[in-house]
Symmetry: C2
Subunit: 310 residues, 2 copies
């Protein structure tokens, strides 16, 4: 039987993947919050570089209590909003189902697993350039692949379900792979997120402006190399030449405002904890001091306060 999906957080990321799953024929339930009334009336609008993925009428739900239980509960919220899921999350997973955390940062799956004992928790890394540009209106700009990973605490039994999810995603035209080592994959994603999210906020600029200015490139490279060293210290070694490859990918990318910059521009909470404080703490536990990232984190904490008070 085909898997059913719920999308907790129908934003730039959840809206895009949910729309792909819906159009591939999977039962897909969307949790919305501020945009619910708009989407109920006008549908979910998703414009992708691969074509229109809009959904005029779908399974849209206004709050967690009404959302039906599904096989795969995809957490697509900002990690700053996770705490509100704590109580109800387990009841939203069908027997034998799972929670799939499609968020940034390190250590989030472990925390969520502690809220849903006996339920599989997976992580997924999304390589997606997508923005929410209006109520219920998502623009997909580039990329879109997902790398899934198992949590050690699940055991290898969980890999059967993980493979089913991968096949469902591939059916939905999402380029999907499974990583043997989730922590390693998460560190690799941080190698992009830690330089470009923070710098784009602190310097009020795009990834392209960072790449094109010698000082910006120096900053990004130094931070990337620091994340690489932290990953190595934490036993999640990064492949040779990865910094260079990431920089090259970024150079070729459509000019882009990272999610943290969009949050900042909208006066919303930034994912400083998931993207900075957690990896910094994990590296420190392994004896490595992420000096540049600590400095950037402290700058973001100050800017965040100003921004939320503005």
């Amino acid at each position: 039987m085909a898997l059913s999906f719920s999308i907790i957080g129908t934003g730039a990321l959840g809206g895009y993947y949910g729309a792909l799953l819906h159009h591939a024929g999977f039962e897909t339930h969307f949790l919305l919050h501020n945009d619910y009334a708009h989407v109920r009336a006008c549908g979910l609008r998703v414009e992708s570089i691969h074509g229109d993925l809009s959904i005029a009428q779908g399974n849209f739900w206004p709050d967690l209590s009404t959302l039906p239980a599904c096989d795969v509960v995809c957490i697509c919220l900002k990690s700053t909003a996770n705490a509100q899921l704590r109580e109800a999350l387990a009841s939203k997973v069908k027997p034998g189902g799972c929670v799939l955390v499609l968020q940034n940062g390190i250590g989030i799956e472990e925390e969520i697993a502690s809220w849903v004992p006996g339920i599989f928790v997976f992580g997924g890394l999304c390589f997606l350039c997508s923005n929410k540009v209006g109520p219920g209106f998502i623009k997909h700009l580039d990329y879109g692949g997902i790398r899934l990973g198992n949590l050690e605490s699940n055991g290898s039994q969980a890999l059967i379900l993980l493979e089913q999810i991968r096949l469902a995603f591939v059916t939905a035209k999402i380029e999907t792979g499974i990583d043997k080592n989730l922590a390693q994959a998460r560190w690799q994603k941080l190698m992009w997120n830690m330089p470009f999210n923070g710098l784009s906020v602190v310097l009020r600029c795009t990834t392209q402006q960072i790449m094109e200015h010698p000082a910006g490139l120096r900053l990004a490279t130094q931070i990337m190399e620091e994340v690489e060293a932290a990953a190595n210290a934490c036993g999640s070694p990064v492949p040779q030449g990865f910094v260079h490859k990431m920089l090259e990918n970024t150079r070729r990318m459509t000019p882009y405002l990272p999610s943290m910059r969009l949050d900042y521009d909208r006066g919303q909470a930034m994912e400083i904890d998931a993207i900075y404080s957690r990896p910094i703490a994990r590296a420190a536990e392994h004896g490595y001091d992420m000096m540049h990232c600590r400095m950037l984190r402290d700058q973001l904490l100050m800017i965040q306060q100003e921004s939320l008070h503005a």
Copy 2:
């Protein structure tokens, strides 16, 4: 015979000290640029916390070529404008006179000395909170002391003239001391300038906001400690407890926008070279890597480009 003074750059700093010298009866010549016509017509307005120091009619000059030679030529420009003095500077110094560099940073006196061979060059560190708030209008907010220092290349003969300058300044009610070691004094001043100038631009905040936020205090403290370590590495050791004392002074200071922040707000060039690149390079020559300051410098270079292009 009383010393004569010229003030090259009648801004927040030059205008304040020049006005004090003028009112104490010293022959004082003011070089102005954009504000010349206004000051010629309306006078130089200087409001100090110690009272009104305005000058209705004074020795105001519109360009360097017209400025008479004086005993003490005070360089009060932003260091970013120094290059324009290179050719004419020597001719503005009376026989037996000197150039007094009242600027921020490290290594500026040595560079200027190479432009005026055979002429004494001194350095002075100004501990002054003063802003230019309009054309020919200066507000002095707090402090005002100067610490003078000799350049090694002058030899000890120069100390007689330096002492004369000190006495003139004291007569003009400027609290003035002579430092045995100019480099040491400059490093101590950098301990304030390197954290607060850069952070106030990058974080768009006041010194008070930095001091009151735990992350801001952490940033300022780390950078101060780094400057302290650099000074030690360069053979200009900082007294025990100096970081703590500087932080306490800053906490008690009237909320203040450092000069670099004012330059940024006005879309003017920031003194990144004098306050960051020169000390970073000098520390590197002595084998010390100012990591935090390098990061801040690179951020400023990026922000400066955006700002000048805006």
